[in-house]
Amino acid sequence: MPEINPKLVFVGDSHAAALLAGATALGLDADGVSWSGSAWHDGKFALTETGLEPRGLPAPLKAMAGLRARLAKDTETDKGQIVVTTLGFHLGRLVPPFGWNGHQAFSSGEPRPAETDTVSQAFLRDYVQHFRARHLRVARRWSRMVNLVIVAPPPAFSRPSYMAFRDELLFLCHQARLTVFDPSTEFQNEGGIVPAALLEADGVHGTTEYGARVMEAMVRNRVLDLTLPH
């Protein structure tokens, strides 16, 4: 464990907000920038020699410039820089269209209820890869530039298909040898679902307390090489 924690940088979609707030609440030195999940889903980002940047999004571009100024360097690509990201998930844009024609996705081995139109696991993997191949490619390159940690979104509900897509993306991250943390492991005693008290009013996004709990879990599980302030 380091004696002096490095500054944590959060870059991601709206789910990164709770993680940043949680880190700050724990007394960690944290900063970050975010833009909407739909822009992430649409691939409005690029990895340059100075790090990951939004593309065609004036406000996030300005925010990124502000972040870099606060970090007092032109780039967040220091090898030791810890970057926590939600890159690649963005389930709110990925999952609903899958169900437009009545399909539901199931995690491997999960029982499939009668009367439910479904697809094979192989199809689901190909479908996810079609929409996320570039995200994973960028994540692999980015992980060679910084100490990258991908965090899956809060397992906030058991809506059809969400868990299957989540599991599939986790698998693909592992397969790509990316460091990825699944918050559902922290909520095993609560059925793998985040308790309502740790969710915002929309029932989707985590609160500051949720973010703090996930950050603590990542430190405890050595996903983040940090010492939490007492």
Partner: protein
């Protein structure tokens, strides 16, 4: 027993040789009368026949691309008529051309939303109205009709396990490029397609079926039909279990009638347009030369389709087989392997199809499109989620 086609003197109600049932021959007689006119006013019935009734004017002088009135639909269909298409590989062309022409091809088993075309093709979505794969025989069609009204019966369909641990359902052995990961997954997929097959006749005006083969394989113990002979690609051939069947006219007729009865029970207004695939057999297990076996197979299928069209108001026959495989074409539309059909042949076939099709009736349906509404609602929900996400981002991130 023989089938006496109603000709000049056919009785109005004839004895059906197949099932000992009576059936109405009004349709046959009406057609015959329409073609032959009133004998009393002419020296012989052929004098008033149109050029298409004579080989010289209808075929020899018209030329391959000059056939007139080759087919005329007996039905005036609604302008928004939905066509479901199934059958052997030649049937795949029909769905493509219907879509290309802007007709209402029924896609009862769409790929999940936003699936790219290449992925949909890889998993055989959009080839037929439901993801059945090729249905070569009438026995297979009957199996699907039975599954459609009782999807739980998929439990009786045998699932093969390959040496590498993947699973293949025996009705659609090549529907998934690499098979399924489990028996449960294979059965869930079969049930999904069975429900889609139900929609293909419950939510359509015309069921187009292309008859492909008389030869097939069955399980001796269960009677289940197989889409392909076990051992030809997937599965393991067991001579004690896997029985070769060269279905004869009576069995094909009975299976087609049974399948149509199941479908009409659900949708009494459903019409059937039968065709026979001009694609020859790739191989025969009959013991005969493949050329003879092909001729036998296509002849029987053509006869069954023709008899059904002559005796049933809800059935018609479209002559795709004749356009491609009859002597005047001199085999011109076959690819060099003498099996595949060149696109020019498909175009000619479908040209005749559209020339004879009558969709001048008023639209059958109106109102809201449920699928479109579901997508619109989903888009709205995602847009609202975006607003929430943006608020969270504004609040917590970008105030610096």
């Amino acid at each position: 027993m023989h089938l006496c086609h109603a000709g000049f003197k056919g009785s109005q109600v004839g004895r059906d040789f197949r099932m000992g049932r009576t059936h109405d021959r009004t349709k046959t007689n009406r057609r015959a009368a329409g073609k032959l006119g009133t004998p009393a006013m002419t020296e012989n019935p052929y004098k008033t026949l149109p050029p298409s009734a004579f080989w010289r004017s209808g075929v020899a002088e018209a030329g391959l691309f000059g056939y007139k009135n080759l087919w005329k639909s007996p039905w005036t269909l609604p302008s928004d008529a939905r066509f479901s298409t199934f059958g052997s590989c030649f049937a795949q062309h029909i769905s493509r051309v219907l879509v290309a022409r802007g007709l209402n091809w029924k896609n009862a088993e769409k790929a999940p939303g936003l699936t790219p075309n290449a992925l949909a093709q890889k998993y055989n979505y959009g080839v037929f109205t439901a993801r059945t794969g090729n249905i070569y025989t009438a026995a297979q069609l009957l199996t699907w009709a039975r599954l459609a009204v009782d999807p739980s019966a998929v439990e009786s369909i045998e699932i093969w396990r390959s040496p590498n641990g993947r699973f293949f359902d025996s009705l659609r052995p090549v529907i998934e490029p690499d098979g399924f990961e489990s028996v449960q997954e294979a059965r869930a997929s079969l049930a999904t397609t069975a429900r889609a097959f139900h929609r293909s006749f419950s939510e359509a005006e015309v069921f187009v079926f292309t008859l492909g083969l008389t030869e097939g394989w069955e399980d001796a113990s269960t009677g289940q039909v197989w889409a392909l002979c076990p051992g030809t690609g997937v599965g393991t051939y067991d001579p004690d279990r896997h029985v070769f069947c060269n279905y004869a006219y009576p069995r094909i007729m009975a299976d087609l009638e049974a399948a149509m009865a199941i479908m009409r029970e659900v949708n009494p207004d459903l019409r059937f347009l039968l065709t026979v695939s001009p694609v020859p057999l790739v191989a025969t297990a009959s013991g005969n030369h493949v050329l003879s076996a092909t001729t036998y197979s296509k002849s029987v299928l053509r006869a069954v389709a023709g008899d059904l069209a002559m005796t049933r108001q809800e059935v018609d026959y479209f002559p795709s087989y004749e356009i491609i495989a009859s002597p005047p074409s001199r085999g011109a539309f076959f690819e060099p392997n003498l099996r595949g059909i060149a696109i020019e042949g498909v175009s000619l076939v479908m040209g005749h199809f559209f020339a004879g099709l009558d969709i001048s009736g008023p639209p059958a349906r109106g109102g809201e499109d449920a699928a479109a509404k579901r997508i619109y609602d989903s888009e709205q929900a995602m847009a609202e989620d975006d607003l929430v996400c943006d608020e969270i981002i504004m609040e917590r991130f970008n105030n610096a």
